[in-house]
Amino acid sequence: METAAKKQKLVVIGNGMAPGRALEHLFEMAPETYDVTIFNAEPRVNYDRIMLSPVLSGEKEFEEIIIHGDGWYIKHGITLYKGHKIIGIDRQAKTVTSDAGTIESYDKLLIATGSVPFVLPVPGNNLPGVLTYRDLDDVNAMLLAAQSRAKAVVIGGGLLGLEAAAGLKSRGMDVTVLHIMPTLMERQLDPAAGYLLEQAVEQRGIRVMTKASTKEILGQNKVEGVLLADGTTLPADLVVMAAGIRPNAMLAKEAGLETNRGIVVNAGMQTSDPDIFAIGECAEVAGQCYGLVAPLYEMARVVSAQLADDADAKFVHSETPTKLKVTGINLFSVGDLGEGDDRQEIVLRDAAAGVYKRLVLKDDRIIGTVLYGETSDGAWFHDLTKKRTDISEMRDTLIFGQSYQGGSPLDPMAAVAALPDDAEICGCNGICKGKITGAISGKGLTSLDDVRVHTKASASCGSCTGLVEQLLVLTLGDSYNPSAVTPMCSCTDLGHDDVRRLIKAKKLKSIPAVMQELEWKTSCGCAKCRPALNYYLVADWPDEYADDYQSRFINERVHANIQKDGTYSVVPRMWGGVTNSKELRAIADVVDKFAIPAVKVTGGQRIDMLGIKKEDLPAVWADLGKAGFVSGQAYAKGLRTVKTCVGTDWCRFGTQDSTGLGIRIEKFMWGSWTPAKVKMAVSGCPRNCAEATCKDVGIICVDSGYEIHFAGAAGLDIKGTEVLGLVKTEDEALEHVVALTQMYREQGRYLERIYKWAKRVGLDEIRRQIMQDEVKRRGYFDRFVFSQTFAQVDPWSERVSGVDKHEFQPMAKIGYQQAAE
């Protein structure tokens, strides 16, 4: 007797999660349609690949993550070839061939070859001990290596890399994660959330190195270490490459199917050959490849319907939330996190609880969500996005989550008034509401500073300042007059001084760290706060902070001064204003060679070449560098010039070697960044030909020694200097000038010149610290010297050697197209 209809033959290449799910659907919808044969390159049944990380960390056993046991294949009459890799598809004959020589014919073919890990093309990448993270074999190899409890380096700070790192760490290895971008998981997280993630990962004892570019894997017969592009060498017994995946489309390409990044399929998951389908990470639909499981399961649903003759089943793109499977780290990210005019953002930062939430809104709808620390509302936000819910009604309380919706909007003042007396206001110091209001009325406090002094509330991180001020208003009524701290910019309520204090107190060492911990109101700052923060971090952590060039004004980024027509001016350093024929000749040659339109002597005793095209800058510097010139930093919020007169060398009135001292100071202090520009001068006698008494710092040489002046101005304001004091020797003069400058570097507000800083801090206080308090003076001096070890790098020669090449060349030149004849 014949069966009702002859079954068709379905061959599946690959046995991962997507084809497994597809077959489940297919057997439900059309159980008698196909005879199924599966070729699995891995020698095992179908398992839940995304649960490999818990297996690696020891939270699960392999048996627990199996999706289909052997019984399932038997039950459905599937022929499963374990450990057979398909090496060829013959579309004419409609057969596939495995590496073991098995040939199988098909009516319909389903390709689900998944993806292959991206292996960095660096020397040593094939040494024993270099692994990727893709399948159970990789996990087993890692577990074996982890028994040594030695050093592991994981390359890649994305989802897979961090999961691998956490797993290896929990197995007792000493783990370092290298990530080429400035923040972790930058594809899914914005920098603020990336910063929090980095903190959490480091708290687990995993070292994280960002901006780390791998140059070579070191070792003779096995891995011994990793060499980074900056020259750092990290010892390693195990290297895991988790730098990304690529769709595995090779087999399909060799078979002549249309491929791009992946195997190109239509919305019905059909390849360019109507009898061949592709799903999973290897498939590319509408120009996109997918790596998260939800869309892959959607592909499985579509292809099974197609195979069961439902031609209407179509794949539709949807955003999938990213979650990290590392126990104890909560993050959630989905959708479009870009910024724009037509978009608004709601940001909530709770530094004490380590919480960051950001919603991106467009037309009163949520289009993107990042949650860190507290992710329970992720599903709700995602749901609002999917349903395109208008959120304007609940906008004010939206960020607090689902449980805060409905009811009337909260009046912040009423909310504070309603707090019980034992409610904690200042988390850092454990101060409750009753203690603060009690102190205000009991001790007659009238200002925020009073409250800080008497109760310590808001005296540490300052993030409860708003609450404390509301308590002052509640307790004192209208008689409370909040102190007028001018915020740095509209991104924060904190003033410059608070920000500087907190950067030190909380050891904040990056711009994202400052923005998170000090609860910035924007995700990326603005052109006012970013350069200021960059300076504060450079000044406070000279050895640890990585200068953020994108937060510097253009002049400091390209080491030249932008002019009104977009060209630049270049000023080489002329130490103390002294030059010679060789230098002048070199300048003349450069002016001729680059057709520089204007040359001018500056007020600071050096030569300015104006009107240079940006593209020409590196070549100009190269020529100047050959003559021994370094950058004059005429563009910097830093030390500009030390103007001198000729002193005892030539002048009949000179009392000391003013030229020599000027050069000595300039050579000692060049390259240092300061809150605003610093101009200095040394005059050899009180006739003051170097005009030292209108400079930021000036020295007047006299018979008995060196009179140090400071806080002069000859710009927007005109102001003669104040006398700091008299010292006897040149060494002392240098030490005092350096200490004064360092004091200003540590206390000045960004763009605040020395005379304004001095007025704010008090001239007497500065004199006391620099002239009388030797310990303080030595401290300032030593900190300046330490900072200079990182700052005295000539930016011109650095650029000539190729640093920041992209800055100086157009990305493309689009020419004219020729008209056809």
């Binding site: 970013r530 004004f553 977009g566």
Partner: protein, 110 residues
């Protein structure tokens, strides 16, 4: 005639930075935001013609290096109290490749 012309890849531009493209009609500035959005506008501030490509990029806006006008990268309009706008250029991404919709000036072949 307008054409989609490849002008580079996303990796050619630093995050929160910009690069220029020279065209027969003048320079255009191509920006990459922190979130990897790409925008292109004429490299010419509506105020005094400052090179916007040289400004500090924050959010989807750039601050002109000459006089601190803040220009929206999306609309080309000056933000805040200032009034003026600069031409925007349509951008399309194909993987990492950046394509710009540009008018090609035509010269007669010899």
């Amino acid at each position: 005639m307008m054409n989609w012309i490849e002008i580079g890849t996303i990796n050619d531009i630093p995050r929160r930075g910009a690069r220029c493209v020279n065209t027969p009609h003048g320079k255009i500035a191509v920006f990459r935001t922190m979130e990897d959005q790409i925008f292109a506008i004429d490299d010419h501030c509506p105020h005094k013609g400052g090179p916007l490509s040289q400004g500090i990029v924050h959010g989807a806006a750039v601050t002109c290096p000459l006089h601190n006008w803040v220009i929206s990268l999306e609309t080309g309009k000056a933000l805040g109290a200032d009034e003026g706008s600069v031409k925007t250029i349509a951008i399309r991404l194909d993987g990492d490749r950046i394509l710009a919709l540009l008018e090609l000036a035509t010269v007669a072949a010899e």
